[in-house]
Symmetry: C2
Subunit: 358 residues, 2 copies
DNA sequence: CTGAAAGCGCTTACAG
DNA sequence: CTGAAAGCGCTTACAG
């Protein structure tokens, strides 16, 4: 069969060139608007492109192209077993997969409890040249300022963790924090008496406000309680990250107050902190719910101290952030602007199957 | 900088060839075990490959390769909104992704309630030439026979849905059905009195036995109850697929018997069938738990008739089955022999985020 | 068994 | 502005 007229054959640049009576170089220039093409040839090539369905072979394109794309990420630093480590894993996986496709990923980290360190990391990042960025949105205002800067430079960026309205992010990957908060309330209210109290733990660090995500979770939590006729009291405890002695003292005080506490919750990934206390004091009547499958949280769940963990596929968030930018840079594709992860509920019986492998 | 010694540079076939003192053709033959390589050169090339981290450029490979691979799948047919439709979606997604890489997927379907239709679909499939297969294992014995045949032809195959021991499947993708059964028991026992009864519904079809998966879920369910001091009775109802009148009659009888039913469960994906009854009769004291996020089940969950659905990422099962074969065919990679999906718990508050998109 | 060469469909200098 | 040619990293006949 005549190969050039096989209708099932994909048409290539050389086919277009032949049909237009020009060289492949000229066709390439037209396709990519690189200029330096005469009026006449432009007309001829466009004429052909209008009638044939030319679909560039992207595989060939990326093999031939020597253009390198650099993606930077700006996320909290994390030790093994911590929440953000899973996000990093996802980013790393995507980076490894795309590295053959002219994509380079460079990661910048900050201390999630320290806004100053965010500025520092951001500065280091901005000193580099890059074509796209992934930004964890923990510090709202600084992220908005950074977004303006990137807008000006026409650099696409993706938000991670929680979304910020009114910005020009290419995409957001994360959960609907408000509903994740409602789920914690639902899991607790199923277990406790309508009138019993709930302990709400917050981690205090150097005068910071809660992140957007934590605020939203809390709002979803409280709204659910209100809508469902909860009649107990929320009792607050402000705890510290690595200070058991202090935390035990604070919690001793809270539990000494009048009122029966049957539920407990933390809105960040540190439910192992009150968990440690509940376990030590054998307060098994207190149902603790937390967020994120970190090593310590999962152990507490297996142990029966935590009754449920709510998770949001951090590895996927990292992975798909990079993938979205990769698709944008290489193929000009746009992903959905908002990409909400499933909200996973882990209990003792399914925790061991939750490996983020798929 | 000397390009050949730039450590950040990915090493290519030509680099390996140079280091081994052979041609790229020889390296290619070694990498792909194509034979026709002398002992000595084999040794030299393997020696180099052992010390350098050669990662083939898949883009270049698929651009150059003219070999086409055919994968067949043998799964139950499904209407939109049904369980197996999600598996098909995953298969389709993987097929679309790999189609540029010389992979062609052809799907064969059978009626999951009719063993004869399995034989028919299998026959149609075996008439084709193919390089690998995905097999849903609903009918155990026929699948074992088919496996023997494929073994003889040295065609790799992947199992889907439930695993069968003692076979030569390349991989299995699915859940640990036993534990998925235990989870249903856990969700129910949290809600009902220790001594109340549980309605167990089974769908009857033309003299079939339950599938392996359903048997295992049931075993996990019963074992959990026993271990946790459940003191009520399991009350069985045998229902039909599209026969509400009949089902209502059967269930009327069951509920007329003495004993308080507070829980209900189905071990396949049709909990909407008893759900319909419970809703019509306003039996809101009965806590119904089911499997799989099908359209009708999800609606029942949103409606409050079903309290929880247990799901197993059907889309991923389909997707990764194809991917596993793709990796095997193109790169000779072996995936894990057993790949257990996370077991997801869906309630009213997180069902809307469970889209299997990621 | 072995290597040199052509080719996959594109991009990219480069000479004219 | 234009086209011929080299090259991206592989695979695939093919001659020896």
């Amino acid at each position: 069969m005549d190969k050039t007229s096989d209708p099932t054959k994909k048409i290539r640049i050389v086919d277009v060139a032949r049909m237009a009576g020009v060289s492949v170089g000229t066709v390439d220039r037209v396709i990519h608007n690189r200029g330096r093409v005469s009026e006449e040839n432009l007309r001829k090539v466009k004429g052909v492109l209008d009638i044939v369905d030319y679909q560039p072979n992207l595989i060939a394109r990326s093999l031939a192209s020597r253009k390198q794309y650099r993606i930077v990420t700006l996320t909290p630093e994390a030790a093994p077993g911590e929440y953000w480590k899973d996000v990093h894993k996802g980013i790393g996986k995507a980076a490894a997969e795309t590295t053959g496709y002219n994509i380079h990923v460079e990661n910048f980290h900050f201390n999630q409890y320290d806004a100053v360190s965010f500025d520092r990391a951001q500065t280091a990042m901005l000193e580099k040249e890059f074509d796209a960025a992934v930004i964890a949105t923990l510090f709202t205002e600084p992220v908005i300022r950074l977004s303006r800067l990137l807008d000006k430079r026409k650099i696409p960026y993706v938000y991670l963790d929680s979304n910020i309205a009114g910005q020009n992010q290419l995409s957001y990957f994360g959960t609907e924090s408000y509903d994740a908060g409602a789920i914690a309330a639902r899991l607790l209210t199923e277990k406790i008496a309508r009138t019993s109290d709930i302990l709400v733990c917050r981690i205090i660090h150097s005068g910071e406000n809660d992140s957007t995500q934590i605020r939203n979770r809390k709002k979803g939590f409280c709204d659910f309680l209100e809508k469902n006729g909860y009649a107990g009291k929320l009792r607050y405890a402000h705890l510290r990250l690595n200070d058991d002695a202090y935390n035990f003292e604070v919690l001793d005080k809270v539990f000494a107050e009048p009122g029966k506490i049957e539920g407990a919750v933390t809105f960040n990934s540190t439910c192992y902190i009150p968990g440690k206390y509940l376990k030590a004091k054998r307060l098994s009547q207190v149902n603790l719910v937390g967020y994120d499958v970190t090593g310590r949280n999962a152990d507490m769940l297996r142990d029966g101290v935590v009754i449920a963990l709510i998770a949001q596929r951090p590895e996927y968030q990292g992975y798909y952030s990079i993938k979205a930018l990769y698709e944008k840079l290489l193929f000009g594709k746009r992903t959905d602007k908002v990409n909400l992860m499933p909200i996973d509920i882990l209990i003792r019986e399914n925790i061991d199957y939750y490996h983020n492998k798929f």
